[in-house]
């Protein structure tokens, strides 16, 4: 195994993340927590766009629904965070499943635009349903506490995010290598071909939307807790472009790539925080630049140039014959 191979780098990153709070100041801890949240968003979106090939623009809206759900359940019903958080994520999942319904009739551009319209509609609801969402000004969420544990809120939330990232990263890695993941890729590469192989389009598209909604909902709940404040502005189109840029920069169709893309772009975002116009120019340019000149993203570069980053299935190894294994399993897919 190469020294800078995928596994060593990931383990190093994880170790760094685990000990980081001991030496980072409050601002960098905030940035680190932001990265963890964006990693979740990028993984969820990459499953939907990179693996299942559904060009949807509702991710920022799901993120918002997760944040609003978690925050509003605490504010209106006085529920504790630990109950509101999973429920907020569940609501985002449900909405994700619901918007998969048009996805069954639409593809490509039409799906993109109908989900874009949905995202704007969500934004409109956040802004105008004032009795519930408190309108354009947003609202404060009650501070959460990790009461029995002797740690501060910032630290507790950081480790909660880290644990969730680890669990959901592992889940995603396993998911995309499972029968479900292969079905997603089959749908992406050709719907008719996938159907003729017995992939149930309805079920797998809905599943992809639901999973990305779940990841975005979890991220939204953490985000609302981190900022203690939720407002519609955070879930606008620019947010959507940030998510899209993350998976393009990291590499479409790669979970590890999502992590790298999210990490890289949060730094860009923070470095340019002062001027919104410059942020927009930078993200637009990054998006266009990567699509034109580096369509595989960072992960594509690493796979090609650095030893130990090749995809496991492509590694030449006598003991494993991936094509055969893949065929025998895909024949198990029910008609």
């Amino acid at each position: 195994m190469a020294l800078f191979g995928r596994r060593n780098v990931l383990v190093a990153m994880l170790l760094f993340a685990a000990v980081a709070p001991t030496f980072l100041n409050a601002y960098y801890l905030f940035v680190a927590n932001t990265i963890l949240i964006y990693v979740l968003l990028a993984i969820g979106l990459n499953i939907l766009v990179g693996y299942a090939g559904q060009l949807a623009f509702a991710n920022a809206a799901m993120f918002g629904i997760g944040a609003y759900g978690t925050g509003l359940l605490q504010v209106h019903f006085g529920w504790p965070f630990w109950l509101a958080f999973p429920l907020g994520a569940l609501i985002a999942t449900m909405v994700g499943l619901a918007i998969s319904l048009p996805a069954l009739r639409l593809s490509g551009l039409y799906l993109a635009l109908s989900t874009l319209a949905f995202a704007q509609f969500t934004q409109w609801v956040f802004l105008n349903w004032e009795p519930v969402t408190f309108g354009a000004g947003g609202f404060k969420t009650p501070p959460i506490s990790f009461a029995p544990l002797p740690i501060s809120k910032t630290l507790g939330l950081y480790y909660l995010s880290l644990i969730l990232v680890m669990v959901l990263f592992a889940l995603a890695q396993n998911l995309v290598r499972s029968r479900i993941g292969r079905a997603f890729v089959a749908v992406r590469d050709g719907e008719i071909a996938a159907e003729s192989l017995g992939v149930d389009l309805l079920r797998y598209k809905a599943l992809a939307f639901g999973i990305s909604g779940f990841y975005a909902g979890i991220a939204g709940g953490l985000y609302s807790a981190m900022l203690n404040f939720v407002s519609p502005e955070g879930f606008d189109l620019f947010q959507m472009v940030i998510h899209k840029a993350m998976i393009i920069v990291g590499g479409l169709g790669s979970i590890v790539g999502s992590v790298l893309g999210a990490g890289t772009l949060v730094f860009v975002l923070e470095a340019l925080r002062k001027v919104k116009g410059v942020q927009e120019i930078a993200f637009g340019a990054i998006l266009v630049g990567f699509i034109l000149f580096m369509p595989g993203g960072i992960i594509g570069y690493l796979k090609e140039k650095v030893r130990g980053w090749e995809e496991p299935l492509h590694r030449a190894r006598a003991s494993r014959r991936p094509p055969v294994a893949a065929t025998s399993e895909s024949s198990e897919v029910r008609p």
Partner: protein, 293 residues
């Protein structure tokens, strides 16, 4: 009754602007089977150019409008060169995201040059701002000017599309790109011309609209969504459909705003898009082709 007539008239005015934006979207979509997501930003940016010329530099209105048209054309052609031509054979995800990248670059540039978030730039009216009464109905002359201007632009575009050689080549390419290539049409140029023409119409619409409302860097997307709603309602491949769709969206909005609540002005376009795409993706006048093959 008077309220109804007033709402219909103002709906018709804004609707004619949406129709112009929708025309641009349809021209590009007919030729290339993609949607230029930067269309709204091309519209916004051309509007700011007209504002800069007219308000900051004191150029008369009509030359400013023509400059916005020319500038729109150049921006559209540049969008083609950067985000369409190199990606023609790439998948639809790359194409869409590349035009979105262009959109955000333009939006950020406008914000940096012409002001921050929430900066609304007024554009002086080209006619007297006093409302006049025609048959007991209050009419703002600016609205009539916008309506007349839109009709002129639509007629000019129809003439260009039907009568000129370039327009006929665009029609041929839209009909069948392979056959057009065989007939000696350089379709890459036609694609560029389509992007340019679409954006030029958007530029004209922006310069027409500016005196009626205010300019702000975020306006592009909201007009794009409305223009797209109009195009979808009309069927995305039909030019008369785009005009019909635009006027319908304008009137729907205006009535929703007048009879329900002003916040419904913003949202009715989204509802129309979601409804039409789910119920009848080919729109009112569209052909059945709705997938890039």
């Amino acid at each position: 009754m008077e309220l109804l007539v007033y709402l219909l008239l103002s709906g018709l005015t804004t609707g004619s602007l949406y129709a112009l934006i929708a025309l641009g979207i349809v021209v590009v979509n007919k030729a290339t089977a993609v949607i230029n997501f930067a269309h709204g930003e091309l519209f916004m940016f051309s509007g700011f150019v007209a504002w800069m010329l007219h308000v900051q530099m004191g150029v008369p209105y009509l030359p400013s409008l023509l400059a916005a048209v020319a500038f729109g054309f150049l921006l559209g052609a540049a969008t083609d060169l950067i985000a369409f031509r190199p990606l023609k054979n790439a998948n639809i995800i790359s194409l869409v995201l590349a035009t979105i990248g262009i959109a955000f670059m333009l939006r950020g540039t406008a914000r940096v040059i012409w002001g921050g978030k929430g900066d609304y730039l007024p554009f002086p009216p080209i006619t007297s701002p006093e409302p006049i009464m025609i048959g007991g109905i209050m009419v703002i002359p600016q609205q009539l000017a916008v309506l007349a201007g839109s009709i002129v632009i639509m007629v000019a575009f129809a003439a260009f599309f039907r009568l000129t050689r370039a327009g006929k080549m665009m029609q041929a390419t839209a009909d069948n790109a392979k056959a057009a290539t065989l007939a000696g049409i350089r379709i890459d140029r036609i694609y560029m011309l389509s992007f340019g023409t679409g954006a030029a119409i958007a530029g004209a619409a922006a310069a027409l609209m500016a005196p009626l409302t205010l300019l702000y860097p975020d306006m592009g997307f909201s007009f794009f969504i409305k223009g797209f709603a109009a195009a979808v309602l009309g069927g995305l491949t039909s030019l008369p459909g785009a005009v019909l769709g635009g006027i319908s969206i304008g009137i729907i909005e205006s009535l929703a705003g007048g009879y329900l609540h002003s916040s419904f002005i913003e949202v009715s376009a989204f509802i129309v898009i979601m409804f039409v795409l789910v119920v009848r993706p080919t729109g009112l006048l569209g052909s059945t082709r709705f997938r890039r093959v």
